[in-house]
Symmetry: C2
Subunit: 294 residues, 2 copies
């Protein structure tokens, strides 16, 4: 069962024990468009203590730069180097983990965030598709590009059949073509609704190619390996803070680091403390409580 | 092991034993755009013997009327009543099996064939989607239509994120909304390529909604129930003729009827006669051989 942190003394021990704090954002820092009380001050306090903070998000549709602007909108000065989106992680994975050849390029099924981060990492990419590729006969004109050495799939709100078909063809025709997904969340919340997420778009290519992708985002350890490729990380002095057991806490467990579940998002205290749930190391009401140390 | 039919006497016994012959098309009647030798004469012979022939296809993108034109192009006079496409079967399933209420309507993710067959069956449908529904915020404007009582998903080459999202919303918001797939083939052949099929598009909604659809097309028995709803079928006097073990032969097995595998398409004689393969009742080189009886 997670250790429930209740007193200022508990909070102080937590802050003393770790050098690097990895944060999920929605449900921990903000709820949709509203910042959670005390969190801004808590993060400022950590920084004043020379703690490293890294914001880890599965959202691949916007770049770190755009994400930084979202923080600025809450009056928080967070640099892009403090943000680890699944789009950036995917670029790091290609560049630093699998050492993707500069002779090769990537075909992108995904949003602007993926394209922006590939561009920043000097990885060549294409997402050529034409609406003319609608009739079966059009595919007879398909000319394979042997330079395409990876297909990246993330949430793509401009998805169409031609784009999916071309990704499918590269994945099945090009020997050794890598298959990488930014994340595999089946849905994501928009207002009162849930809509199909990256994992649902990804399932088209998983089903058609019968291939298993490398998944970068939480809860997969790939993301932690990417963070470790960018920063020196001492696992025993690093903690993951999140509001979801199956993504944030599981990510910490998969990465071999401690975890803190907060009750400002999806997971209730009742659920977090249930011995049958995924077990976080610590639990607390809100990360905003840390501001009491300031 | 299937009984291998080799002689004219074998063929005559086959024809005598059955009243209704269900046929797969590609690989049995034609190969892409070329008719298989002797098949036209074989079908004509069956008809001259007052046998009923029904052409059964998982292709939902064109209507039976359009399919009839394809036969005409090969000089074969096949009426739409002799064709059972998965699009028509889906309409029959809604109308005659589940008795879909005339007060309700269907949201269609699928091609023109599905819309044409729903129209012929007097089933109301919509496939409203707007390219404006691209930004997350647009979904806050989504107004649920409680009249939508079913989502049909088939191969849709005009797929887009808004259409998938709206289908997802009806399936998750409307109590008792039926989830029906025309078929679940993961790919289909186009020239030298395979492209993502209905089953791959379907997987988006299966993943996002975590719902299990009713699948109409081969190899599922749903299709046989639909055929039985349209025609009087005596199972012991009905046979399924196909070139694929996992769709055509399995469809016959699931429906409790005899099967004939031919070697003019996907399956080789070696594979069909392998005791570890799905077991057809009979096997023969080509259905064109039946023309020797004429």
């Amino acid at each position: 069962m997670p250790q429930l942190l209740l007193t200022v003394e508990d909070y102080r021990k937590l802050v003393d024990k770790y050098d690097t704090f990895l944060f999920d954002c929605d449900g921990v820092i903000w709820l949709g468009t509203t910042i959670i009380e005390g969190v801004k001050e808590s993060i400022a306090f950590l920084k004043s203590q020379n703690k490293r903070v890294v914001f880890v998000t599965n959202n691949s549709t916007i770049s770190r730069k755009e994400y930084s602007k979202k923080f600025a909108g809450f009056g928080m000065s967070i640099s892009k180097e403090e943000i680890f989106s699944s789009s950036h992680a995917t670029a790091v994975h290609l560049k630093n983990i699998v050492k993707f050849s500069p002779d090769k390029k990537v075909f992108v099924v995904g949003g602007q965030g993926v394209k922006d981060e590939l561009h920043l990492a000097n990885i060549r990419f294409c997402n050529k598709e034409t609406s003319a590729l609608k009739k079966p006969a059009d595919y007879k004109e398909f000319v394979n590009d042997p330079e395409v050495g990876a297909v990246i799939c993330g949430l793509d709100r401009d998805i169409n059949y031609a784009k999916l078909s071309i990704a499918h063809l590269y994945l099945t025709l090009n020997k050794d073509c890598l298959f990488i997904a930014t994340n595999n969340d089946s849905t994501y919340p928009v207002g009162d609704f849930n809509l199909p997420g990256a994992g649902s778009i990804l399932s088209v290519l998983e089903t058609s190619t019968k291939r298993v992708p490398t998944i970068v985002g939480k809860p997969y350890k790939t993301l932690f390996d990417c963070i470790s490729a960018d920063y020196h990380i001492e696992k025993s002095r690093t903690i993951m803070v999140g509001d979801r057991l199956n993504t944030d806490v599981q990510f910490g467990i998969n990465s071999g680091i401690d975890t803190l579940i907060v009750f400002t998002g999806i997971t209730s205290e009742h659920e977090a403390m249930d011995p049958n749930s995924t077990q976080a190391t610590y639990a607390m009401t809100s990360f905003g409580e840390i501001s009491k140390l300031a």
